[in-house]
Structure formats: structure tokens, C-alpha cells
Amino acid sequence: MTYLMICEALIRLIHTRISFELISFTLAIRFVSLTLFIAGQSRQCTPHSHKNQVLLPLITCAYWSIPATFWSRMATDLNYVEIEARCLQELQQLKIEEENLIMELNSMVNQKTFIEDKIKGLSFLIPKLNVMKNEAEDLVSTVNDISQSSEKISGKIRQLDTARSHVDECLLRVNDLIDLEICSQGVQQAILDLDYEKGAAHVHRFLSMDQSLLKRTANDMNSVSNMLKSVRTLQEAAAQLRAIVEHRFNEAVNNEDLVSIERFFKIFPLLGMHEEGIKEFCTYLRTKVAITAEKNLKSAINLPLADKRYSIVYADTLTLLFEGLARVIDTHQPLLETYYGPGRLLSAVVILQKECDSQIKRILLEWSKSRQIQKKLQQITDLSRMSSSASFSKIEKSDPKDLDILIGEITLMHFRCELYIKFVQRKIMADVEVGIADKELKEKTLKQLDQTILNSVLSQCKHELLSHYLQLEQYFMEESVAKAINMDILETSQQTSSMVDDTFFIIKKCIRRSISTGSLDGICVTINNACRVLENDYCSVLKARLRQGYPSGYLDLSQAYNVLQNSIQGRLQTGDTEQSRTAFIVALNNADSSTEYVTALCDNIMKEIETSCPNMNLNERGKLESCLSGISAVSASLTAIIEYGGQQLKSTAVKPRINPWVDTFMNFSHQLTEDELSAYEAGESFVQTLIMNLETLLSSFKEILSSNNYDHFLQVLTAEVTQRFEKVIMKSQFNRLGGLVLDKEVRSLAGYITSGTYFSVRDQFARLTQIATILNFDQIDEINDYWGNFDGAITWRLTPSEIKSVLNLRVDFKSDEIKRLRL
């Protein structure tokens, strides 16, 4: 069928092709050959060759599809020789192609048998496939059968399972009944034999039976009375045993019979009396703890004053109490866990905590009595109330040094409390983790733990200790810093005085001590207090000293008046000015070195806290950082103070001296002839004198100021010199040579000041240098070399109108020419 369809397609194709006017000759040839090829193909495939007759006209038709126009164009356009040559050529090609086609056809004929073999082979397979299909269907039905039957079997197994569980239950009941019988018989005997362990074991077995199951069994059974009797016997025995055990335990406690105590302690849980057992036993332990604690406290009270540990004896007593309690918990926890099961430590600790609370109360009471805490605290509060009033000095002050030891003891006591609380928390949390599986119950128990600790006297005492500590520490810090400031001494050859080192030593000591309390709140508060002391007490002293000002040797009118007043009162001494000068400079240096101390303090504290409280959570860290940021605020205060000191120096030491020096510039003529110029340069020029004066001024400060302060001072001075210089220049008039000299002088001044510092003062000189450059012009229009938007142009610090007024200072520049300048 296929080749017939191809033929039809071909015919359609031929018709369309004929309608084209120009068609390539070779294409046509190819078409013919294709037709031929198909013909051959079909001949090969079909044994019936009569179809060739259909093909033959097709071929001819294809040949003639070469359009007639083609031939006609040939006839007209080309001469016959060419036509002939071409025809021959085409003929030749056709022949070659024909041969090729014949070859292809032959090869296809050869393949024919091969393909036929293949088809034959395939047809053999068909019956086999049918067989396979049948077999597969059989298999499917078999599998279905199997699944059905297996379903049936599993149903039966299920039935069997329920039956078995019934049997199991039955067995259990029977066992229970047998045990019940045995227990009820055994328990009485055991009680009579005083074998409480055995009796308790019987009761335990009885209690472990499912009571509701027992009741059901009783209902199911005929011999009800017998069983009920056993149950009653056992219940009675249990009650009896409970009473006996409780009694015997108390007896053992009274007799201090440790073996019996432990024996009955173990029996309690067998009788289902877990809580009672823990309560009885821990109450016993409480008395033990109480006795030791009492003994310790007594010996603490009676400790002679001369004893080495006298100053921390109460901290020691507290430590002994905590250690004793910790030991009790540690040694009895395994016992508790073995006989009572895990998860019951909290009940034990709650009871022990009561003793801890009452003991700690007594210790603190004795401590507070012996150390006169209330009196000292009262004194401090009175002092702070009075500090503003006049009667301040009358109140007896306690020496901060005496408090030092006491503060140390409180720190230690607080730290012990903190440590013990952490110990208890850790122990119970671990116990709860192991012993209580139920999530809700676990949470409840942990909450109970928190509440127990929070509401304990221990916690309250701890908070009170911290409160005492903070009050005393604050007082200590304030008083010690005040002392350091009062006893301020300047060692010769030092730039700073003793108060800087002393104050920061005290602050560091206090903060360090607060770290050793183990309380983050304590640390934060001490840091807050340190900030307050530094800003209010320390910085204000520095500032007050700077406010006195730096008395200059060259007095202006008002200063002269003050001097006069002082001398009238006979207070002026030669050293007086010198002393207050030194005080000013030292205060300035102190402020400078304090900024460094503050930074170091901040870093050190952070590091120390990191090591001592490694497990801070995010919130705690935030709290701490916020408090620490207060310390860096102190540094800002100090910077402001230094700035203020610099301004003070400027107004008294810099301005009054520099201004007359710079003003001498106006005494010189700046309209020079050549002769005058060489005379000026040979003599002592303005700038030489100025530099010499500056040198003396600077060298007097270089020795005494700290290097930061000196740099700062130099900047202040430079600003002043340049501003003043600019002013006097604007008041002078120059000719060409005068401008030349000025330019040189400005350069050498800038060179001198730059050589004295690490800071770049070039910037401060920019305006002055530019003014000098302008005055040094040969011609007005030289400005165009510098002004504008090109590579060589400079960044001007002068406005166009300023430039014009500077140009006007040159007497030889015409003012209308300057006016005409476009800038």
C-alpha cells in the first residue's frame, strides 16, 4: 500500500511542479531518479510485477515535468553546439546515475532474503506467546486464592490472641489469689517473728496487686468470704506494720540507732509510705544538721579576736553549714534513689531546706550583732542624708579601710549562698530529669523547686547580704576615692598626680570584689556606682581645677586687677602663680591619662566577668553591657573636660602672648625696595622672632604636658597663630617684594610648626599659604593659573571676594583691574 501512496503523492507533486515556470533541470533529474528508485523498491518488495506498468508512465511523466519553457529558452538563447554539448553532458550524468541506481537496486534485492528470514522467525514466536498468556492468568488466580486464605488465617490468629490475653489475665488473677493467700498467712507470722522486712515484702506484694482486679475477682468467685478475709487480714497487717515501723523508726532515732534507722527507712517504701519515709528520715537528718550547726556557731561566737580567721569566721560557719548539707544530700541521694526510686530528691531537700533556713537565720543574726552591721549601715545612711547640710563633719565616719575586711566577709558569705543554691538546683534538676518522665509533672516539679528556693530564707538572706554589701561597697568606694583625691600628691618628674592611679585602683578593686560575689546584679550595681563616682566626684574635681584657669605671666587688665587685690590682702606669693599653673597642667594630664584608664578598665572588667560567669544568657549579657556602656560615657565626659582645659589654656596662655607677637608684623614696612629687602633679610626678620618666641612658649609646655595634651595644645596654638596672622596681613599693604618676603615667612612658619608634631597642621595653614601665594603674584592675571576647573588649580579656602580683597592689599595692583577679574 505504501508505494501506491507514494506514487499518488508524486503525481500530485508533479502537477504542482509543472505550474512553476522555472525549475531546475537537475532537480527534475533527481525527481526522475527518485521515481526510478521507488519503482525498483516496489519491484523488490512485491512479487507481483504488474504494478511496474503503473510506474512506467510515471517516470515518463516525471521526465516531462521538466517545463517546456526551459527547452524553449534553450533554443532561443543558446546556439545549438552548446545545446548539444550540454545535452551530452547531462546524458552522461544520467547514465552514471542510472548505473548507481542499478547498483543500489541490486543490493536491495540481495537483502530481501535476509529480511524474509527474520519475518519467518517472528511468526514462529506467536504460538509461544499465547501459551505464556494463559499461564500468567493461572498465576493471578492462584495468588488471589492465597491472599483470601491468609486473611482468614489472620482473623483466627486474632481470636487466638484475645483468648490468650484472657488466659493471661486469668493466670494473673490466680497468681494474685495464691499470693494473697500466702501473703495473708505469711504476714502475721512475719510480724510475730519481728521480721518486718518479710512482712513489709508481703504487704508490698499485696499493694502491687491491682486492687480493682481483686475486687472483680472477688465478684466472679464463689468462695468470696475466703478471699475477702485474706484481703482484710492483709490490710490490717499493713496498717499494723505501718504503725510498728513508724514507731520503731522513732525509737531508733531516739536511741541514735543508726542501723535500725536505716533498716526502717528502707521498709517505708515497701509499705507505700514514700513521702512519710522521706519526711521521717529527713527530719532525723535535720536534727543531725542542727546539732553540728549549733556547735559550729558556738565555736564561732567564742573564737578569740586574735584568731587568724576571726575576720571571716561567720563566712566559715556558713560554709560549714552548706558543706554539711551538701554532704548529707550527696550521701543519702543514692540510698533514696535505690529504695524510693529517682525523682524524690526535691521532697527530701524541701525538708532539709527548713533546717538550712533556720540555721542561716541564726548565723546571720549573730554575725550582724558581732559585726555591728546595722549600726554601720545606719551611719552610712545618716551620712548620705547629712552630706548636704553643714553638720557633715561632726558625724563620726567609719574609715573605709576598716570596712574593707567586713566587705570581704560579706562577699564570701554571699558567694557561698550562691554556690549552695546552684548545687541544690543542679542536683534536683538532674534527679528530676532521670526520675520523672511525664512532661507536665516535670515542669510542675521544677516550678516547685524554683518556688522553694525563691521563698526560702536562704534566698532572702542572700538578697539582704547583697544589699548590705552594695551599701558598704558604695560607701567604701566613695570615701576611698574622696580620700585619694584629698591626699593627691604630685611626685616630681611625673606628669600626673597620685589621684589618678589611686582612684582607678580603688574602682578596679571594688568592681573585682563585686565579681567575686557571684551575683550579676551586684556587679552591675557596682559598675553603676563606679560610673557615678567617676563622673560626679572624680571628673568634677578635675574640672574644678581647670576652671581655676591657667594663670598667664602676661596679665591682661582684669587679671592684673585680681593680682592687685590679692597682693593687697597679702596673699600673693611668688610661688602662687607657679603652683596654680602646675595644678592646672596636672589636672589636664590627669584627665588625659584617665581616658586611657577608663578604656583599660572596661576591657579588663569584661574579660574578668567572662571568665567568672561563663554561662551568661543573652539578657544578662545585655544588662551587663548596658551598665558597662556607662563607663564609656565617663570617657566622653573626660574628653569634654580636656577640650574645656584646652580652651582655658588658649584664652590665658596662648592668646595674650601670641597676639602681641604676631601684631609686631604691622610694625614692619611691607613695601620694600631691593636695598630694603636685603637689609631686612640680613637683620632679624619678623618670622625669626616669632618662631623664637613660639619655641620658648612651646618648650615650656612640651615638658609638662602629656603627649596627647601637647598635641592638642599645639593645634590650639596653630589655629590661634594663623588666625591672628591673617588678621594683621589684612591690615597691611604690600608691594611685589613685600609679598615675596611674606610668602617666604609663611612657609618657614608652617615648616617650623609642622616639624613639632605628628599631626598634620598643613590644613590649618591652608588659608594663610593661599593668601601669601596671592600677595606674591607678579601680575594680577596670575590668579588664572590657580583659579578654575583644571588640573593645576588648587582647592581654595578663600572665597572670590576674599581673594579680591587680598589682591587689593598690593599697592601696585590696580583696583579696577581687580574688580574686573572674573572668579
Binding site: Q460, Q471, N528, K543, N619, A633, S637, I641, Y644
Partner: protein, 201 residues
């Protein structure tokens, strides 16, 4: 995270049990946790709010009301930008203590601190302090006044937002709010210097 422009410290004070922690929790977490224990020392929470397209970080210090923590809480007054003094409208003693609190604030806090009086627990039926009494007290002592309910979330947001806005206004007026005593002095001295300069020239 730290793209805030202003940071203000707000400290809450007042007697134990007036609801300071609840106010803070309500504002920072939107919670009202009933039956929680007394605060120990100070708690610290942060909330960033937006005031006029500016981010403002509020650092809220929730202090313990109990007497034995006084030496801890007092140390936070100094650096506070705003102090919220809270009393319980259903409990006269908490109101009676206000003068004591003010004395403490006077002693420890900066004179420029923004002070706000808050009567909390207005959801309660058994009111003991009428609104006008609180109002008068606040007016007498130059404080803002607001009544709130942390439980019903009444006025809580408003309280803190008002504080944030006021503090921002204050901060905008004086560029460096904390050190302006210093800067003022420096300005004074520079004023002198310019006059001295005039004299010479």
C-alpha cells in the same frame, strides 16, 4: 538589628505588687502572665519602636519593689532618661508611698529625667484612689499622669509611646542630652574668649 537612631533608658519603680513587671511584659511581649513571683533585683528588656519613621530603642529596666532590693534599684536611676512611678489604684498604701519614692528619685536621678506617674490596675472594681487624686498629685510634682491596666492592655502602649516621643523631642532639642552641662560651660568660655578678643583688636 542595631539600626536605631535613639536609645533611651526607661526605669519603672514603685511598691511591690503594683504591676511593674506586668506593664513591661504587656508592652514588650504582649503577655499578661498572672501569678508570677516578685522580681529579683532588676530585669531588663528591650523593645524597638518607631516614632515618626525613626527607630527608637527603649531599654526598659523593671525593678524589684521590695525594700531589700533598694540598693540595687537605686543605682539605675542616674542613667535613666525616663522614670515611671507606678502605684496600684486599688491599694491606698502604694499611693501613700509615692512621696518616699519621689524623695529617692530626687536624690539619685538626674534632674532632667522625664517623670511619669502611672496608676495601674484600672480593670479592678475595688478602686481606692480616684483618678483626680492621682492627677492632682502628678500635677503638684510636675509629672505626666496616666492610668493603665496591664491586664486589659489599656493605655500601656500609649504610655511607652508617649515617653518615646517626648524623649525624642528632648533629644532633638539638645544634641547631646547627657553632657550638655559640659558643653554649655565650654560655650560660656568661648563666649568670654570672643569678647576678650574684641577687646584686644
Amino acid at each position: 538589628m542595631d539600626d536605631y537612631k535613639f536609645l533611651f533608658k526607661v526605669v519603672l519603680v514603685g511598691n511591690a505588687g503594683v504591676g511593674k513587671t506586668c506593664l513591661v511584659r504587656r508592652f514588650t511581649q504582649g503577655l499578661f502572665p498572672p501569678g508570677q513571683g516578685a522580681t529579683i533585683g532588676v530585669d531588663f528588656m528591650i523593645k524597638t519602636v518607631e516614632v515618626g519613621n525613626e527607630k527608637v530603642k527603649l531599654q526598659i529596666w523593671d525593678t524589684a519593689g521590695q525594700e531589700r532590693f533598694r540598693s540595687i534599684t537605686q543605682s539605675y536611676y542616674r542613667s535613666a532618661h525616663a522614670l515611671i512611678l507606678v502605684y496600684d489604684i486599688s491599694c491606698q498604701p502604694t499611693f501613700d508611698c509615692l512621696p518616699d519614692w519621689l524623695r529617692e528619685i530626687e536624690e539619685y536621678a538626674s534632674s532632667k529625667v522625664l517623670r511619669v506617674l502611672v496608676g495601674n490596675k484600672i480593670d479592678r472594681e475595688d478602686r481606692e484612689i480616684p483618678t483626680h487624686v492621682g492627677e492632682e498629685f502628678a500635677e503638684r510634682h510636675n509629672m505626666y499622669f496616666l492610668e493603665t491596666s496591664a491586664k486589659e492592655s489599656d493605655n500601656v502602649e500609649r504610655l511607652f509611646m508617649q515617653i518615646a516621643e517626648d524623649l525624642m523631642k528632648q533629644a532633638r532639642m539638645t544634641n547631646v542630652p547627657r553632657y550638655d552641662s559640659n558643653s554649655q560651660n565650654i560655650n560660656d568660655s568661648s563666649g568670654q574668649e570672643s569678647s576678650c578678643c574684641n577687646r584686644l583688636t
